[in-house]
Amino acid sequence: MAGLVIEKLSKNFGKTAALSNVSLTIKDSEFLILLGPTGAGKTTTLRCVAGLEKPNQGTIEMDGRLITKLSPAERDVAFVFQSYALYPRKTVFQNMSFPLEARKLSQTEIEQRVNEIARKLAIDGLLNRRPAQLSGGQQQRVALGRAMVRQPRLFLMDEPLTNLDFTLRVEMRAELKRLQNELAATFFYVTNDQVEAMSMADRIAILDHGVLQQVDTPENVYNHPANLFVAGFVGNPRMNFLDCRIDKNARVIVGKDDLWRISLTRSLFEKVAQHKGGGEAVFGIRPEDVELSNEAETDMIRAEVYVVEPLGDRTIVDMRLGSEIIKVKVAPNFEAASGDSLGMQFDSERFHVFDKSSGEIII
């Protein structure tokens, strides 16, 4: 038994429920990222694990030990705050040695550990500075260092890269991943940035309105979203959602105003057949799974170019189909201008259909 087990965790602030019935298992040495929009309850989950917040219900177990009622100091977890929360009157060395001094380690061991971690984070030249004399990136490293000196079993990180500028953030993503590998420690990391989650996590847990939506590998979250929310939240530009109707007799999905149709393969139809809901549904397709063509082939849907956004490495073309807009990812050399009429084709297998009322996935 190792890692962290969160069982049926609920937390209310007054009458509003911040977390409802969240159950989540983090394996030993796993990098798990809790992803969700602002106000989803991500930070609350982390604070409950750290002991900064008392859950109304549920249990938290670490390495097989029930920690729900322990004080933060007794839990042996490290926390990296979004604001870093460095101690302004202490030097970098004193900031990093503070957790060791509170644990009454010998002075030689403290010095040895702080110096070792400082070297690892390339901040060994800054040990005598105060936090106010450091850049944002350096402060962030000190905050990490303060967490690392304790060699905790579990690192809790609350959006640690959010306050960094873009280049540094990309750099630190790779570095954090490397550190996690090197330390072989368990990382429980919170962010609202799906790119961060996709690039670093072993598994992603997606939270919305205090309810866990899906826990899976980045690949599966992207390719097999559990519901409409996950499908829309992960991916940039986000998945296109179109109103549609399931015609079980003809084994086709029919678009709004009958502007397009897509026939179902046998395996896909079997899934649709099991679905008991009504015919109204939401069709979802990622921008890279739509094809555009200048040649007028008969089996293509005709649509009008609305906007063209060249992004350098790729181009996003917004197509207007009736009253709906579909974003399409094309090669950067694709030529199109607003008002052009183009042929458009959906990938025959890489698409999803969601129940309109529940949001649950059908295909």
């Binding site: 100091a73 926390f79 705050f81 604001s83 101690y87 009157r89 509170a102 644990r103």
Partner: protein
């Protein structure tokens, strides 16, 4: 042609500026007049002091009055210093702890407790004078500086608690939470994290309490006797009686006014430095 409106606005700008400065300078002179009279009179030969020559400068500087005042009131100045340093430090330290608990720890009944503490600021001295006197006498604390230290410490707590609480609310909770996770307890968080950030809070409180307690007269005159009186009581006795030698109360007033001014001059530099250090930045 073009610069006519420009120079007209400039002209009015100078006029209003000049009017402002003249008003301020006149105001300053009016406010400085009593101070001038006090210092001027204190430096005159007692024989040369009379109403007709109030405004005249002394013919010769006469420092003798200061020597006499210090000789006579030296012990009382020392009483005041003992009283003020002890009461100020005690009320500042306890107020700081109160503020720390009230702003950073969840305690039962805090919503009632804090306003109750603040109510203490609005109790007039006169209102509790007689019961306080009787209590202090029964507690065998009447008649000396220690009793007065206790009174001023307690009377100062509402304001020092309020100042520190509002000061500590600005310290991000996350900083203390980080310390709690790092393994620090209640006292370690206070001594290691909160107290080092409190310099400017302490300066504000010390300036305030020092001035209040130094200048306080009513409790001092009621609770102390003879040799244990602070300077304010002694000063009042100088000014009483039939034939007043004006040079002595004037010199006494100058001497009595100096310590709070010195404290302010020394601490205000730290005060501004504390603000500029930007120590509390999230």
């Amino acid at each position: 042609m073009i610069d006519i409106p420009f120079s007209r606005t400039k002209f009015w700008h100078y006029i209003t500026r000049a009017a402002l400065y003249i008003t301020l300078i006149v105001g300053m002179f009016i406010f400085m007049l009593p101070i001038f009279v006090v210092i001027n009179t204190s430096l005159k030969d007692p024989a040369a002091i009379n109403l007709a020559t109030t405004w005249a400068l002394p013919a010769q500087l006469h420092w003798q009055s200061y020597v006499e005042v210090i000789e006579e009131f030296g012990p009382r100045i020392w009483n005041s210093i003992t009283l003020v340093t002890n009461a100020t430090l005690l009320s500042a330290i306890i107020g700081s702890l109160n503020g720390y608990v009230l702003s950073k720890w969840r305690i039962a009944g805090e919503r009632i407790l804090f306003p109750l503490i603040l109510l203490g600021m609005f109790i007039p001295y006169q209102g509790i004078l007689i019961p306080l006197f009787e209590f202090m006498r029964d507690a065998r604390l009447y008649g000396g500086i220690p009793g007065l230290i206790i009174i001023h410490t307690i009377y100062g707590l509402p304001i020092t608690t309020l100042i520190f609480r509002n000061f500590y609310v600005e310290i991000p909770d996350e900083m203390l939470e980080a310390a709690a996770i790092d393994g620090a307890g209640f006292w370690e968080i206070y001594t290691q994290i909160v107290f080092p950030l409190s310099v400017s809070g302490f300066v504000v409180v010390i300036i305030w309490q020092f001035t209040q307690i130094w200048n306080e007269f009513l409790f001092a005159v009621t609770m102390t006797t003879g040799a244990s009186e602070p300077i304010t009581v002694g000063l009042a006795q100088l000014a009483g009686g039939q034939a007043v030698h004006w040079n002595l109360p004037m010199a006494g007033a100058v001497v009595a006014a100096l310590p709070p001014i010195v404290v302010y001059l020394i601490l205000s530099r730290y005060f501004i430095r504390g603000l500029l250090a930007g120590s509390i930045k999230a």
